[in-house]
Symmetry: C2
Subunit: 124 residues, 2 copies
């Protein structure tokens, strides 16, 4: 049991490293892509458009390390490796859905605000 509660607003709190995982761009997209079901490495690379193999590997290893994704190797030739969410990983879908919902709902407003701001604060 913990004597000290987690608080991401504190610099030294370990929970901040956990926060970093949820607020990772590729993590959000990869976990979101895995919601519909297990995917292979290449399939993921296609779904998450623009991710490099290095970043995809790195993201998947991190998710595996955190117990959010499981990596299954099927003994075949050519090899088939599938990634699927664990129960803990599926828990991440709630914040991810909220993030995606907000992004889609406010994208227009934000982009408009940006253009407006840049017009007003245009460099001479």
């Amino acid at each position: 049991m913990n004597d000290i509660p987690f608080d991401p607003y504190q610099r030294a709190c370990p929970s901040r490293t956990v926060l970093d995982r949820v607020t990772d761009r590729w993590t959000v997209l990869v976990v979101g892509a895995l919601e519909a079901g297990p995917l292979r490495f290449t399939e993921l690379a296609h779904r998450v458009d623009g991710v490099s193999q290095k970043m995809l590997t790195q993201t998947l290893r991190g998710l595996e390390r955190d117990g959010l994704v499981t990596r299954t190797v099927h003994a075949e030739v050519p090899p088939r490796v599938e990634y699927h969410l664990t129960d803990a990983g599926r828990g991440m879908l709630e914040p991810i859905h909220a993030i995606e919902r907000w992004t889609l709902a406010h994208a227009d407003a934000v982009l408009t605000a940006r253009a407006e701001y840049d017009t007003v604060h245009a460099a001479s």
Copy 2:
């Protein structure tokens, strides 16, 4: 009206830059800190422990640019500057709450999984 719907899974979709805002570490903490009410620059720096003045300024400018935060300068000496969420910014609280909830709820499990993983995959 948009002929093309936003899709953050597509590399070139502008919504990905909006996604980047919500998935920014300091953004989440700053907006979360502003939920309770307006705060001054220094107060924010204290609440969001560990943020450098440079990153705080940068984060606030970004939020202002995106129309999520308003900056109010009170004509006093010494100057008093207050930041508060706009309605759009308050909308970001939903994903942020979900993120914070998940972080606090799964921090223990994730940290344990990490330790376990690192033990098993220890470098020789």
